[in-house]
Structure formats: C-alpha cells, structure tokens
Symmetry: C2
Subunit: 237 residues, 2 copies
C-alpha cells in the first residue's frame, strides 16, 4: 500500500490514542512533516498487525514496508526522509538520543504506568479490559486497584526521577537544545500517555518540566494539546 | 600562572584522587590531550581555592583563568581548545550531554555515594574526617555506619538505576556512539569514585555496563586503571 499508515493503540473512544510509544512516533512524523493514515488498534486486534511479525504498536507501514518499535521507526524515518527536518540534528545525536529514549522507557514509563494504571483500564475498549487486567496484575503481582492506591508514593517517585530533566530545563528550552527533536519527543510521549488517560497532574505548575511540556503541547500548531484526552480535574501539587 | 592546574580532592594518600567530578575533568583533559599540574586538595583546604570564588573542586586554572564546576570546565575546554578531539563531537551534542551529566549526578551519584560512604570516610585525610562525618550525617539524617549497613539495598537500587545505560550498551560500545566522549566520562566518573575508595564491586561481570567500564579503564593507555585505587576484594554479584 502506498503512503504511510500508523497503527495506534486506541481506547473505547477510537479517537483516544494514548500509547506513549505511539506518541513518540506521532511527534516524529509531525516533526518530519509527514502525513500518516492513523488507524485505531486494540490489544485484541493482534491479527491486524500480524504482518509486522509481532504484536505491539506502533507499527508503521511506509509505502509497503512494515516497521515496528518506536525507536526503529524514528531511525527509519530519519534515514528514509533525510531532507525533512532532522530528528537527530547533528552527528552522533542518534547515539545520545538512544540513551535518553532508554531513560524514558526505564526510569519514567514504569512509574507513570503505576500512577495511571486504573485510569487506562477505565478508558479501554470493553474487549481489551480483561486482557489488560490479567497481564498487568501478573506483572505487578497485585490488583490494579492496589497499584492505584499507591499513587501518592508513585507521584513522589516520579518527581524525583525527573530531577535530571528539571536540572537541564532550567538552562535550555528543550532536551535537544534550542529546538525540540526526538530526544524531547521520546520523553514527551510519557506525559501524553498520562494526559490522554488520566485526570492526574504529574507536575507542579512551577516545575521547569511543566513549562517544557507546555512548549511541546503547543508544537505543530498544538497537535498534542488538541488531541482527545482525559479531562483534567486540576492540579495535585 | 601559565599552563593548566587542576585541584583534585585527595585522600590521606595524596595520590588517591577519588572525586567523581574530578574524574570527569581528568578524563576530559586526557581526551583533549592536555597536560595539567594536578594538585591534591582536601576539604579543609578551602582557602587554597578561595581565588575561584567558591569552595568545591574540581577547580581548573587555565593560563590564569579559574573555572569551577566540572560541567563548566568541560564546556570551557571545548571552546578554548576547538582543534583538540571534541568532547561534544557533533552539533547539539553539548545539549544532550548536559542531560546525561545531570542523570549521572541525580540518578547515580546519590546511590553510589550511599554504598561507598564509609569507605570514603576511611580513606580521607585525618583533618577531613570530622567535617565529612558531620556534613554527611546531617545530609542523610543518620550515622555513616547506618547508611553503610543499607548497602545491599543500595546495590539493588543502583543496578536498577543503570537500566537505561545497560540497554543502549547492548547496541553501541559507548554512550556517545562508536567512540567515547564527555557523555561517557561524566558517567564513568561515578564508577571511578567507587573504584578509588571502595572494595565493593558495583557491577556484575556479565553486565554490558561492566564491559563499557573496562573499555574506559583502558582508554588513554590505561590512565584510569593505573590510578591509585582501593583494593578490590572480589565481586559481589
């Protein structure tokens, strides 16, 4: 098939696209100025992406070529569209961005996941709920409700975990420097995951990370800000 | 004064130079191929570096100009010696390296510090010991010995904290890509701090981070490997 197709995890509302990794890819496509046919996908739709040889989204189909794993998709887009704005603007930026992507996945994703776990569950399509509950309760060794009850502790853990981000954002507007690039998007995806599924406010409004997130919400004509999200009930700072 | 002078924290043995931040600077100087007159400094020698306007090392004096803070020293060296091998090899590498430096300082330094706290104390010059005990016991809210007793927990915390590093070192030899640069040295400094003061082995020998550390111990003709260190009592994996 021609053009670019992106399979994104969706909730009960097919327009609610909340996966952190899919958000990395969505921002990367916007950065490159590329249009994609964004298709909703649910955990129970494994067969719909079986052509990719695995069962997770995002899956990108670029003019017939299937690529999975958000990092591999970013590397693909950079190589395939070298004349579009660079996701890795400078020699070796890809190597350091690789570390920052791993930091987002290892230091932020698990703790944000615990904070918003029950909110995600409540926004899933009905057919995804028992799968999600079973696999996550196995992973955490307790019920979704028990994990959710630990939210205050996990919010503290998160605010500690983002200390390096906070530090540098006092001195520079974006992780990537004066303008945003993939090193920003791979972290921002984690915050969009929360924004799309949960009313919880992860950040205090005087946190430099809050202001960085605002800048990225405004990027690309407010693409991320305009995306369907959970209603925010106000801050918990 | 002409040439480069570097003030480094030293132990009872003046040749034992163990500060993580001083190690960042030492590797940066080696990378640039610059010689420095390395002077031992102790916590009680505040007056010896008062000319820098503050009381912490490393302090670099580059042909009469005093610079403090290891990050500022790295930025200075890159600007002052642009023809020497680059610490930030590529456009915007300085921005992402800034994040990685902050990650080393916020995610690794506090936990490694707890692991080796009592070992550091035991290697300090006699005149530094009461200052060190008092300030650290205030910071941690308990005795050095109580903090040291939590070593097994802190080793687990560390091995979890380095997960992003482990992830990318499966795919690339250095954080900076195919060769080492400042993004590597700012992390490596944390491991040298431990190597120089403590017999504890922070890493399992099959950890990709262990192999990365080996590569950096071998860099610059084994500069770091040959430096005075605590004797290792073998691995605790």
């Amino acid at each position: 098939m021609m053009g670019i197709v992106l399979y994104e995890l969706a909730g009960a509302d097919p327009n609610l696209r909340f996966s952190p990794h899919c958000w990395k890819t969505r921002m990367a496509l916007a950065h490159k100025g590329l249009h994609a046919d964004r298709r909703p996908w649910r955990f129970m739709d494994k067969s719909a992406i079986a052509f990719s040889g695995q069962g997770n989204v995002p899956v990108l189909v670029d003019n017939g070529e299937a690529i999975y794993d958000s990092w591999q998709i970013a590397v693909h887009l950079e190589q395939r569209y070298p004349l579009a704005p660079a996701l890795f603007p400078g020699e070796r930026m890809v190597d350091l961005s690789h570390f920052i992507n791993a930091w987002a996945d290892k230091a932020l994703l698990p703790v944000i996941g615990r904070i918003i776990l029950l909110d995600i569950y409540n926004r899933l399509a009905p057919q995804d709920r028992s799968y999600f509950r079973r696999t996550r309760e196995e992973r955490f060794g307790r019920s979704l409700e028990e994990v959710a009850a630990e939210r205050p502790t996990n919010l503290e853990t998160l605010r500690h975990a983002i200390a390096p981000l906070r530090d540098i954002l006092r001195a520079q507007d974006f992780v990537s420097g004066q303008t945003a690039a993939y090193a920003d998007y791979c972290i921002f995806g984690m915050f969009m995951w929360s924004r799309c599924t949960s009313p919880v406010e992860l950040l205090a409004s005087n946190d430099p990370v809050f202001l960085w997130r605002e800048r990225l919400l405004d990027a690309f004509d407010g693409l991320a800000r305009a995306a369907p999200s959970a209603e925010h009930e106000g801050e918990s700072s």
